[in-house]
Amino acid sequence: MLPNNLQQTAAVLAARDQFAATGLPGAKSEPWIYTRLQEVVVNPAQSAQAATSPEAGLILHFDNGLLVSGDVAWPAGMAMRVFTDADMADFAAYLPEDHLLGTLSVGHVTSAIVIEVEAGAQITELLTLRFTANVADQSAHPLIFIKQGAGSQCRIVEHHESHAALSAPLIVMDIGAEAVLDHAKMQADTDSTKHLSLTVMAVAEKADINSFTTAIGGQLARHETHMHLNGEHADVALSSIYMARGTQHQDMTTRMLHQVPNCTSSQLIRGVLDDTAKGVFQGKVVVARDAQKTDGQQMSRALLLSRQAEADAKPELEIYADDVVCSHGATVGELDETHLFYLKSRGIEADEARMMLIEAFLLDTLETVRLDELRASLTTAIQRWMTGV
């Protein structure tokens, strides 16, 4: 769903040129040191398949990167529109400069929509963004620009179930003062799909963000999240669970930018890796000179279930203010034999004991999810992953 000329706007053309000029990151590119992009198929879908019939509820459905939902019954205070040229320039301004994922998807945009939440609107209905694809050699590049007004509240979930060469959604959320956002992402693309996403959240004062990612799909997936804390007393909680097996590759990359004083951020990351899967966590917390009284916490743990699995972590702190409390921790290890023994000695089968311990390992992260209605399906998804279904 694009205005006819959007693909020809200056911002799109510039991004396309930039992407073509820079190409994929080389072996020495620091941001991609653990995730090598050997080959990325960029073949944006041009036109939608037959539009699906509108789904019940507040659902926006992107198929092959194109918006296919018909009319949606928008609740009062929430509305959607297609990008204008001005929106495109506005959107691009939020993206980090010369960022591979930014130029990739802006340059090859397949769909671009703005969702606006009016100031003060309390939207309790869950907005679902569904991303599907069924063409194996195509790529999807939807741009989604969410503008959440001051004092508003909204709840958003992304479901990624694509079968394509590449799914590369670009999401910018501008979250107004005192706004509350509950956000979740469920990524379960097929294991031949590459998933390269970039989510940028610009957070104003006293906003309250809770974002949760579960990543279990894709051949290679990179979930990059940039948080710009621009207003004082903002509170951000970012949690992720990634699980990979076979030859899957999961990459969680976060940048938490504390630009102003008195903000709080916390990150919990848990990874479970089996077979020859590889898991990557790169998390950077930057505290600017003026951002006094920052409280920035980050904890990443990875569990290796097989001898060939690999976990790489690079938690970074870059701190320029002196009156701050920042910490990060990272651990990598296997299931504790003594824990297994304890359970087995109480008559629990080895497989079941392992599952219990993995669930326990993920539990504290799962508990941070504020979208209560998702918790059950998240737990199911994790259990299904563990039983290999």
């Binding site: 690999e310 938690p315 870059e318 701190i319 002196d322 920042c326 921790g329 651990t331 990598v332």
Partner: protein, 483 residues
Amino acid sequence: MAATQETIAAVEEATGQYKYGFVTDIEVEKAPKGLNEDIIRFISAKKDEPDWLLEWRLKAYQKWLTMDSPDWAKLDIPEIDYQDIHYYAAPKTAEGPKSLDEVDPELLATYEKLGIPLNEQKMLAGVAVDAVFDSVSVATTFREELAKAGVVFCPISEAVHSHPELVKKYLGSVVPVADNYFSALNSAVFTDGSFVFIPKGVRCPMELSTYFRINEKNTGQFERTLIIAEDQSYVSYLEGCTAPQRDENQLHAAVVELVALEDAEIKYSTVQNWYPGDAEGKGGIYNFVTKRGACRGDRAKISWTQVETGSAVTWKYPSCILQGKDSVGEFYSVAVTNGAQQADTGTKMIHLGEGSRSTIISKGISAGKSNNTYRGLVQVMPKAENARNFTQCDSLLVGDKCGAHTVPYIVSRNPSGKVEHEATTSRISEDQLFYCHQRGLDEEEAVSLIVNGFCREVMKELPMEFAVEAQKLIAISLEGSVG
């Protein structure tokens, strides 16, 4: 070629009678500025080196030409003109001094000022000193006592002649020539350094110590140290550095290689307090050091302890390659930056052997306008069954214009390996300061006390005589950072 002719002429001139005005008024013989194959041949000839070493140097130089200066560190380094540096300077003496009496008294006086224990009094302290003045070792004490134990402790230029088989076997075996830009440069132009060999089963009877100084203006120092500890041996090596004030930046690119065989232990301690430059960072030392130890044998242990307070720019990652089964690597570091200093320092622990263990304790203190980065890598390779790492990085910020950064890299390829990393960043709390004020300490004393407490875990790893000095050093380094 004209340039080559010029160099040759300059080399000839330099080798003839030549006089300079020096701060310490000692005649110094030095190679002309610049770096090319002729300079390397000149250095090699000066050292009367065997052909294989000259070849090795030239190969390193060719490698270096193809390499780029690393830019991944969080450092802002002005471009270095490698052709504007003297690569060789030696205090001029008729013949090598046989005893202290023969050493130039001016030189001894300078050491005295720096508090280097070269003279008799220090014999009581049990310190054997291989003092390095600019690039050539001029005096070595306690050689005989060490020789009795079978320990070889001498300048590496001497070891090339006295123990060529050892030097040939181990030189460049831990830090390959082309490991990085600065190690390649060092391999091409290194002038001197220390060589230590501890034979099987010997516990070195005393702490070995060497003092590096940079004195000659515009003289890069390219020290090369090689320590080999055979099976079941033990050695503790102390390195301390001072340098007088200079206006121009001085380059230091040292390489230190440690080899620990079965059940051997090497403890390497450094106190580095080179001139950090003035408040704007002008004139300080550039310290680009490659230090690496290999635990080749089972149960071998290498322990690095460093107190880094000096230099304008520090780029230094003392590392351990834990090859042996149950081998142990340790890294204890205190890095203090003040003024406009920049430090990017940390360690690498490469776990290859089964049951290998490593501990990293890093304390970074930033004050003034400085930036202090911990950068470390912990890598558990597939065969490192039950490897264990614990890392703790704490940063302390003094003032609101400095920066503290932590960049740990963790790569785990074996599920039985356990890797833990913890990092915190904080400042001196008002409560702590208030408590000290209450007891009559002024601001500066209080900060010094608190910072020394913050570093205690590392300080206790230092040998006694260093620990006292290091505590004073930290207090001095933080002067002017408060109030």
